[in-house]
C-alpha cells in the first residue's frame, strides 16, 4: 500500500532510491547531501534493500565505483553536493561516455570559496556539458518521484541522470511525501537489463581507445540519445502521471493561458513564485509562471511554445556564468532565437549562496519587468552595493 509520511527532501531521495531498488550505492559524505546516503546505509544495513553499500575515500571514487557497478549491469546510485560534484567531474564524463545509466542526486550547494553550505545552482550547471541529463525538482515529492523516473529514462537512452534539489530549502525541509506501493513502482520500473555487461568469462572492453576514424560517431550517438531522451521523458512522465496521479512535464506552466508577462524559474523557488503569481492574478495582473524541470536534454520546443507571443519574460537564475549571464537565461535565449516576433527576455540573478527568495522579491521582479523598456540581460536582485 502507498502511504504518506513527513520527510525531508534528502530522505525523500533515499526512499526514491529504495523504491527504485538500487543495487549498488557508493558515496562520500558532504553537507548538505549526507543524510541521503546516511538513511540509505541504514536501510541497507537493516536488510530492507538488497544492495551493496560501498564506502569510499572521495567523490571521485564514489562515481568510479558506480561506473564499475553499472558496467557490470547493476542499478547504481550516488549523491553529492558542490565541491564533491566538482571532484567527480572527470568521472561524470566517463559515466556518460561509457553510456552508463547511473542516477545521482545532487543537492545544490554554492561553490567555495568563500565557503558556503547553502543553495545555488552553479555546482550542477557547471556539469552541463558532461552528457548527464539534469532534472531540477521543486518539492520533496518530486525528489522522490524523479529518482524513479530518472532510472526509467536513463536505462532506455543509456545516459546517466542527475536530479537536482536545493540545499536546505528542500534537502532539510520536511513535508508530506507519498511513498508508493512497491509492486506499482516495480511495474513502472522493471529490473535493469543491460544490453552489455562486463562479466567474468565473457570479456568485453569499456573505454578502449577510439581513433579519429571512430570517436566522432560515439559523440554523434550521445547527442542522438539526448535528443531521443526528450521523447522518452515525455512518454515516461505521461505513464508516471497516469499511474501515480501526478502532473509532470518537461516544463510546467502555471496560469500561463492568457499571460502577457511570464516569470521563468527552476527548483524550489518555483513554489514561492507560484504563490506570488497567484496573488498577482487576484490583483488582476496578467502574469504566468513557467517552471523549467528538464535542463538536459533542453526542451527547446516546449520553451518556444510556452513563451511565443508574450509581451515580456523574466528568467530567474540562482546561478551565474561569470562574464556572461544567468545560465537558464542564456539557454532560453538560445531556444527563442528562431521565434518571430522577438520576445524581450530579461535575466534576473537572485538567491545566490542561499539568500532567501520571498514572495515580495518575485512581485518586485514583476513590477520591475513591466516598467523596463530596453531588453536587459543581467539584472541583480537584492545585491547589497
Amino acid at each position: 500500500m502507498s502511504f504518506k509520511k513527513v520527510l525531508t527532501g534528502n530522505h525523500a531521495v533515499s526512499y526514491g532510491a529504495t523504491s527504485a531498488r538500487v543495487q549498488v550505492i557508493s558515496a562520500y559524505p558532504i553537507t548538505p547531501q549526507t543524510t541521503i546516503v546516511e538513511l540509505l546505509s541504514e536501510i541497507v544495513a537493516e536488510g530492507k534493500l538488497d544492495a551493496i553499500f560501498v564506502n569510499v575515500e572521495s567523490e571521485h571514487s564514489a562515481m568510479s565505483a558506480c561506473i564499475g557497478a553499472s558496467a557490470a549491469g547493476a542499478r547504481a546510485f550516488t549523491a553529492t553536493s558542490a565541491q564533491g560534484l566538482a571532484l567527480m567531474h572527470e568521472m561524470l564524463h566517463w559515466a556518460a561516455g561509457a553510456r552508463l545509466p547511473i542516477v545521482m542526486a545532487n543537492v545544490n550547494r554554492a561553490m567555495a570559496p568563500p565557503w558556503s553550505i547553502w543553495t545555488e545552482q552553479n555546482d550542477s550547471l557547471s556539469q552541463r556539458d558532461t552528457g548527464w541529463m539534469q532534472f531540477y525538482v521543486e518539492s520533496n515529492q518530486e525528489a522522490y518521484d524523479y529518482v524513479i523516473i530518472a532510472y526509467k529514462v536513463a536505462e532506455q537512452v543509456l545516459l546517466p541522470a542527475m536530479l537536482v534539489l536545493d540545499a536546505f530549502v528542500l534537502s532539510h525541509t520536511s513535508e508530506p511525501v507519498e511513498i508508493y506501493d512497491q509492486e506499482k513502482v516495480d511495474e513502472f520500473l522493471p529490473p535493469y537489463e543491460p544490453k552489455f555487461a562486463i562479466e567474468p568469462g565473457k570479456p568485453i572492453s569499456y573505454g578502449a581507445l577510439s581513433k579519429p576514424d571512430t570517436y566522432m560517431e560515439f559523440r554523434y550517438k550521445m547527442q542522438k540519445a539526448m535528443e531521443k531522451a526528450v521523447d522518452v521523458m515525455e512518454k515516461e512522465m505521461n505513464l508516471f502521471n497516469e499511474m501515480f496521479g501526478r502532473n509532470y512535464g518537461l516544463v510546467e506552466p502555471y496560469m500561463m493561458d492568457d499571460a502577457d508577462y511570464v516569470i521563468v524559474t527552476s527548483g524550489a523557488m518555483t513554489s514561492t513564485a507560484r504563490a506570488a503569481v497567484h496573488e498577482m492574478r487576484e490583483e488582476g495582473k496578467k502574469v504566468g509562471l513557467l517552471k523549467m524541470k528538464t535542463f538536459r536534454p533542453f526542451p527547446f520546443k516546449k520553451v518556444r511554445e510556452m513563451l511565443k507571443g508574450r509581451k515580456k519574460v523574466a528568467v530567474l537564475d540562482r546561478n551565474i556564468s561569470f562574464g556572461h549571464h544567468g545560465i537558464f537565461y542564456e539557454e532560453i535565449k538560445s531556444a527563442m532565437y528562431p521565434v518571430e516576433p522577438k520576445v524581450p527576455l530579461y535575466g534576473y540573478i537572485l538567491g545566490l549562496g542561499g539568500r532567501d527568495v520571498t514572495v515580495k522579491d518575485i512581485k518586485e521582479i514583476y513590477e520591475d519587468l513591466v516598467k523596463r523598456e530596453e531588453m536587459e540581460e543581467i539584472i541583480w536582485k537584492g545585491v547589497k552595493l
Binding site: 504518506k4 513527513v6 548538505p32 553550505i117 547553502w118 536546505f168 530549502v169 528542500l170 532539510h172 525541509t173 520536511s174 513535508e175 508530506p176 524550489a268 523557488m269 513554489s271 514561492t272 507560484r274 504563490a275 497567484h278 532567501d356 527568495v357 520571498t358 514572495v359
Partner: protein, 186 residues
C-alpha cells in the same frame, strides 16, 4: 496558513520540534512544512526553525523563511535578552516560553498572548537530555498544543512516538505534563 517560528539553542531539539509539530499537524489531516534556518549549528548557539501549517497542499505553501509568524516558541529564555524574539510577530500571536517564571513576569506588550511552562524541569524529571542540558522540545510542544489548539495532543503523541529516536514514552509524558501545567498570562 499558520506560521510558527521557534527559537532555541543547539542541543535543545529545536529543529526536531519544528518537524514533530509539522508531523502532528499532518496527522491531524492538515498539510505542513518545517525547516531550520540552517547556520553551521553547534551546541549552545542560537537556532531558529520554522513550521507552516495549512488546510491543504492547494494553499500554495511558499519556501522562504518566515518573517511575520503567527506564533513564536522560545525554548531558551536567555534568548529573550539577546534576540528580538517578537520581530514580525502578528498581533494576538502567542509567545510560549520555557521558563520556571510566571508569564506575567515578562515585559511583553499586551498585543501578544504569553504562556510559560517549566519545560526544563519537566524534561529533567523524565530524564530527557542531562540535568544541565535538558532536551525540552517535546515538553514545549505539549504547551503549544494546549494554548494554541493548532495541533491535537493525540496527534502530537503519535508524532512524538514516530520521531523520537529514544525514550519515546518519556517524551510523550513530558508533552502531556507540559500540556497540563502551562500557565497563561492573565
Amino acid at each position: 496558513m499558520i506560521e510558527i517560528r521557534m527559537h532555541g539553542r543547539g542541543g535543545q531539539g529545536t529543529v526536531v520540534a519544528s518537524k514533530v509539530l509539522a508531523d502532528a499537524a499532518f496527522k491531524d489531516g492538515k498539510y505542513a512544512q518545517s525547516f531550520p534556518q540552517y547556520g553551521v549549528e553547534r551546541r549552545g548557539a542560537p537556532v531558529t526553525a520554522f513550521t507552516r501549517i495549512a488546510d491543504s497542499e492547494k494553499d500554495l505553501i511558499v519556501r522562504s523563511f518566515i518573517y511575520e509568524p503567527d506564533h513564536v516558541v522560545v525554548l531558551d529564555p536567555t534568548l529573550l535578552a539577546t534576540q528580538n524574539i517578537l520581530e514580525g510577530l502578528k498581533k494576538g500571536g502567542w509567545v510560549i516560553i520555557n521558563t520556571p517564571e510566571s508569564p506575567e513576569s515578562f515585559d511583553i506588550p499586551k498585543d501578544y498572548r504569553v504562556a510559560t511552562v517549566d519545560a526544563a524541569s519537566i524534561a529533567i524529571k523524565w530524564r530527557l537530555g542531562s540535568k544541565t542540558q535538558p532536551i525540552v522540545n517535546t515538553a514545549i510542544l505539549g504547551a503549544f498544543s494546549k494554548v494554541t489548539g493548532i495541533v491535537s495532543m493525540d496527534a502530537l503523541e503519535k508524532a512524538i512516538l514516530e520521531n523520537a529516536p529514544v525514550k519515546k514514552e518519556e517524551n510523550v509524558n513530558a508533552a502531556k505534563e507540559a500540556f497540563e501545567s502551562v500557565k497563561i498570562r492573565s
